[in-house]
Every structure is written in structure tokens, then in C-alpha cells.
Symmetry: C2
């Protein structure tokens, strides 16, 4: 049959609004030991000997053998940063100012090596080296006007999806909120699953659960489409293999790294939900790390995500993880109000979780009741 016999009728349907033109990380190298390719990857990006590469590295790696593998040459600078606290806008601004002060020339690039905190800092610093003012003024959606400088992400923890997302979540003076922009994603990601060896178990679990929980939120959300669904389903099934299966350690590391990657991609046309909204409040007021915060909230979300919470409880039991208790016991009314405000401000998350009429389905009392259980 000639195809011409069947001209396909493809009229435009009614106006359905516009879809995000999603920026993907344009270069990714995956493989055990791929960190050792970083020098070759950076070389063509070096503008000249006095335009350094800035390496932002989790300070857990200070004095570790990893440092000998970082290809710092010329005027390059390695800055160690603690990931004990969530990244802050003041920290981003201070790093930017320090780099601008230390060097005559704008850096050739910024490389973040660590978990979500280090990756988010690297993204934010790269943006702020090309955008004026304070990073706090860019918290929100599409407020960044200029592309950042070249930036590379190298995760050493799997779960947040920060290596692939178009946001960098920062605690600012007003709120914990991401700098969401088309310029935020890394120009290059190095996925070396060996770098996730030896993560302390609790941190491994909480960070992995960040991925698991955002998949549950994304797959149960109202924003979902087939693109995000396919990534979210794959990330979720990898989480099931890792946290409910019985894999050899190397395979566990590889699969969790890919779960994090696909989980991050699943947010392209979706959103996280209730656990993330409430977790943002916990982080902002009490400085609770993001992954732990998600777990603390998610355990109490059975009414919203019943199957997901049931599996989460099995994972906790299987890995003998005990979440801390009494976190919100001693907080003041003012702090509680702030937590609730921060959580309630996350309109897209609530709309994704509960639909356009979300304001009629949730209120401050419900949120306070959840916080009081934590």
C-alpha cells in the first residue's frame, strides 16, 4: 500500500496551553571510575590559565583519597563545604563574592562534588557569577536572566535528582525555595556509581527515600503526563529493587544512581507533593536535612499516599531505620506558624497533589496536626 493513499489528518486541536520546553543536561558520562575523565572533560572548557575551575567539594572528602583524583591545575581552587546544613542564599552570595574577590578573571567553570547540597550550591554559584544582586531575589520560577558559567555536577550520594533538575533549592531570608530556570541545569554530569560507596546507612536511606517519595508524589499527582510518568515509573521500580530487593552492593549503587537520575527527570512535567511541601517547612525552621525531612513527613501521609506509605514502612523495617521522634515537640507557636506558612506557600506542590481546588482541601490545622506528630 502506498502511504499516499492514507493522508493523515493532523489538524491542530483547540488551544491547550503551552508545554515547558524542558532543558536536559546536554552531556552525561556514566561508569564506575568515570570521575577520572574529569580532567579531559574540563580541558576544552578552560578559557586560559588564570580563569580557574572552582571545585566545591563536600568536606567529608577533605584528606580522603578522592582529592588526589580531582584534576585541579593552574589557579584552580578547591573549596570544602559542609553538607551538615541545607544550602542557603547567604552562603551562595558569600561564595560568589569570595570567588570574585580571589580572582581577576571570571572562572572557567564550577564543579560540584557531593550530595544535593553541594550540587545545588554549584548550580547557584555558577548562576550568580553571571547575574547581579543576591541569589534570594531569584528564588522562584524563571527569574534568572543570564546563563550561568559552565557548571558540572558529580553526585556522591543518590536520590535528590539535583544532578538533573532545573532547580537549586535554597533557604533564603523568607523561604526555602528553588531557583527554577532553564539556565539552572548542569552543562555536564559525571555519574560514577563508585563515588556512592561507603555512605553512612541512614544518609543512604534518607537520600534514597527522597527519590522514592518524589516518585510517589509525581506519579500520584494531577500534573502527570506520559513523559514524566515513564521516568517516574522507572525510578520507582529501581527504588523497589534497591530498597525491597536483595541486590549485590555494586548493583545497588548503580541502580540507585539511575533511580535518582530518572526520578529527577520525572519532575520535568510534574511536581512533588505534600511530603515535600511540609518538609520545606521543617528545613526552613529547624534546619532538618531535606531527605530526612521528607521521611519524617511521609510516614504520616497514609491518607494521601496509602500504598506508597505502606511500602515505605516496609523499607524502614527491612533496613532497620528508626526515624527520630519529638522533632516538633519544643517549637514555639511562631515557629509552627512559619513552618505552616512555608509549606502552604508551595502552591504548585499542593495543586499537583490535590488539584486546582487544593485550598478547599487542606488547611493550617491539618498541617499543624501532621507537624505535631513529628
Amino acid at each position: 500500500m502506498s502511504l499516499k493513499e492514507n493522508p493523515r489528518q493532523l489538524k491542530s486541536s483547540e488551544n491547550r496551553g503551552t508545554y515547558r520546553n524542558f532543558p536536559m543536561v546536554p552531556r552525561v558520562v556514566y561508569g564506575a571510575g568515570s570521575l577520572d575523565q574529569l580532567g579531559d572533560i574540563l580541558m576544552p572548557r578552560r578559557k586560559h590559565a588564570e580563569a580557574p575551575v572552582i571545585f566545591l567539594v563536600d568536606d567529608i572528602f577533605e584528606n580522603s583519597p578522592l582529592m588526589q583524583r580531582i584534576p585541579a591545575i593552574f589557579e584552580d581552587q578547591i573549596i570544602f563545604i559542609s553538607a551538615d546544613e541545607e544550602p542557603k542564599t547567604v552562603q551562595v552570595d558569600a561564595l560568589r563574592d569570595r570567588i570574585q574577590n580571589d580572582f581577576e578573571y571570571k572562572p572557567s567553570g564550577v564543579v560540584g562534588i557531593g550530595g544535593g547540597t553541594l550540587l545545588d550550591l554549584a548550580k547557584a554559584v555558577a548562576l550568580m557569577l553571571n547575574n547581579p544582586g543576591t541569589s534570594a531575589q531569584y528564588q522562584g520560577w524563571d527569574l534568572i536572566r543570564q546563563p550561568g558559567i559552565y557548571h558540572v555536577g558529580i553526585p556522591t550520594l543518590s536520590g535528590t535528582g539535583a544532578e538533573v533538575s532545573r532547580t537549586t533549592v535554597l533557604s533564603g531570608p523568607e523561604r526555602k525555595l528553588g531557583i527554577n530556570s532553564d539556565y539552572t541545569p548542569f552543562d555536564q554530569v559525571v555519574l560514577d556509581p563508585e563515588l556512592t560507596r561507603g555512605v553512612p546507612k541512614d544518609q543512604w536511606f534518607y537520600t534514597g527515600m527522597d527519590c522514592y517519595i518524589h516518585c510517589i508524589e509525581s506519579l500520584n499527582g494531577t500534573y502527570l503526563n506520559a513523559f514524566s510518568q515513564s521516568y517516574g515509573e522507572k525510578a520507582l521500580s529501581l527504588c523497589h529493587e534497591v530498597f525491597l530487593g536483595d541486590l549485590p552492593e555494586t548493583e545497588q549503587q548503580e541502580k540507585l544512581m539511575m533511580a535518582s537520575w530518572h526520578g529527577g527527570m520525572s519532575i520535568a512535567y510534574s511536581q512533588v507533593g505534600i511530603a515535600h511541601a511540609l518538609s520545606y517547612g521543617l528545613s526552613h525552621v529547624l534546619g532538618i536535612p531535606h531527605g530526612l525531612g521528607n521521611c519524617l513527613v511521609f510516614q504520616h501521609l497514609e491518607p494521601y499516599y496509602s500504598a506508597g506509605v505502606a511500602d515505605f514502612m516496609r523499607m524502614m523495617e527491612l533496613h532497620q531505620v528508626c526515624l527520630p521522634k519529638g522533632i516538633c515537640a519544643g517549637i514555639s507557636e511562631g515557629e509552627m506558624d512559619t513552618m505552616i506558612r512555608v509549606a502552604m506557600d508551595m502552591a504548585p506542590l499542593w495543586e499537583n497533589a490535590l488539584g486546582k481546588e487544593w485550598r478547599s482541601k487542606i488547611d493550617a490545622e491539618t498541617l499543624e496536626a501532621i507537624y505535631r506528630k513529628i
Copy 2:
């Protein structure tokens, strides 16, 4: 526990070679009706009014309502191309020459709208507008020296993965072989599942099976790693849903579009295998379309891919697809020799399928026996 108590030992392991730094499509928009965003997407890429956008469009859409949705302005040119034959190097060179002849200025971009043939032509023409000589001299791996001009892929058929791959497969004077390079992938892809409505059933099936078959080949190959495995598994499970399940038509279109996308990604650190190698011979000598060629070969590959072939047979039965028979009945010895040579030349495919010692595991007689069954 402070993280500092547990410094992680991350020494470099022995030299394990280098991994490909894979180029991903940097921008993708997904959604029903997203074709209507093309004008806005192209606008900032237009260099000036006399640097046209060239639209290469499957001629099945000539006089169809789709044409009213193509945002051709200024000096833009729409070129209709038949997809009845596989793309050829001489065709690419002729298109390049025509465009260079018709316009004083280099085009602002090339947009391919159609199935794998149109997408591969668009990629190749974009490359050849910035690289001298004939496209045949770039068939192979990493021979392209200059980035192509801006190029956009808009699939109207799902399965080949051409929208996301780093190759453009062309029949040349010597062989059917791709221009594999970091500059080959599209700068932008528009995934509008509505554009795959109304594809004739056989074509829908053969093209979808291209995806199914390359997933089977990739997942059973020796090159596989966790990155490619995760994409391949997702693509395969979507193929199962589409071809063995009972989905509403819209969902079927959406899921097959994503299967094609993930299937293409799965080749990043993998390769196709025996069906593709033999299919290349069929296309080169007999002009058999790629998807059909894969099916014709794959039905006889039970010794190599037994579970995959069994499911393929179920899919054929379920969709009442009858493959043509006697294709190789009348061919000459010379043609047979050429087919075998073209197939055997695909060393990476054989190595992926059968391991480094593949030359001791396959011979011309085995290939001829398979071809004779077709």
C-alpha cells in the same frame, strides 16, 4: 553521627578505559499539540530574515492540514521528501547542494518532520551544511569535525529512536552505516504524540518493533551497563503495554512515543545486535525499510533471542500482521554476498551480541541460511 567520623575511601580503581561522554538532546518539549509551539521555539534561532529555516517534511503530509501548522515565514523553504526509500548519502548531498544553491545565506536551521527517514535526513543535512565533501566520507564513528547548523526533530512515527540518537543511518555507495558523532543529535525535539495518529497499521507495527527489537538486542548484549539497562527496560515494558496490552488509542500513542525515546537512549552505552546487522544488509541490497527489515530477520532469531522472539510472535498474532515472504528468493549470488558483507561489517553489533570472540561464533553460511528463510 557526624559524617566526618566516616571518611569515605574512594581511590581510583585500576584503569578501566574511558566511557563515552554522551550528548543528550538539550531541549525537549512533550505534549499533545506541542507542534504549535514550534514557531516560538524557532524565533530566537532565526539569524535574520534571509537565513531561512528549511523544513524537511514527509511527503505524505503534502496538502494535509498539518502543513498549515508549520510556522514557515520569511524565506523559509518546505521540502517534501518521500519516505518510501531509506535515506541515502547522495540524497543528503543533493539536498545540501540545493539549499546552498537556493540561498545566499546559510540557513538558520533545519527541521525534520516525519519518521526515521526524515529525522535522519534532517540530522545529516544539518551536519553537511557545515562540513565539506560528501556525507559518505563521514559514515562511521566520530569523523564529523564541525557542529552542524541548528536542527530540530519532530517525529510523526514512533519506534526508531532517531529523535534522540547520536547517529543518522544512511545508505552510501559502499554500505548502510550511520554518521555517528557528538554533533549528530538534535538541538531540539518536539514530542507531540498526536502527530502519530492515523499511521497505517503495518507501518505502526514495523516501526514500533524497531524499538522493541533494539531493546531486546541492547538488554541481551555484552555492552550493557546500568545506565542503558534502565532506559532499555523501561522502553521494553512500554512496548509490552502497547503491543501486548489493551490500551486506549491515545495512551498507546503516548506510550509508544516514550518507548521510542527511552529505547533510543538505551543505545547510549550499548548497541543493537544481530537483527539490525542482518537488516542493514536487506536494506542496502533490496531497499527494504528498516523496521520491516528488522522484523523479517528477527522472526528467525530464536536461537539468539528466544524469549524476545516468542513475545514478538505473540505480538504479530495479536495484531494480525503478516510479514511478506520470499523476499530473498530471487536474489543473485552477488547480491547475497553483498548482503552478508554489509551485515558482517557491523563489528560493534556482532561484538555486542556475541562478545569479543564473535568472529568464531558466526559465519557467512549461518547468515546466508537466515537470509534464505526470509
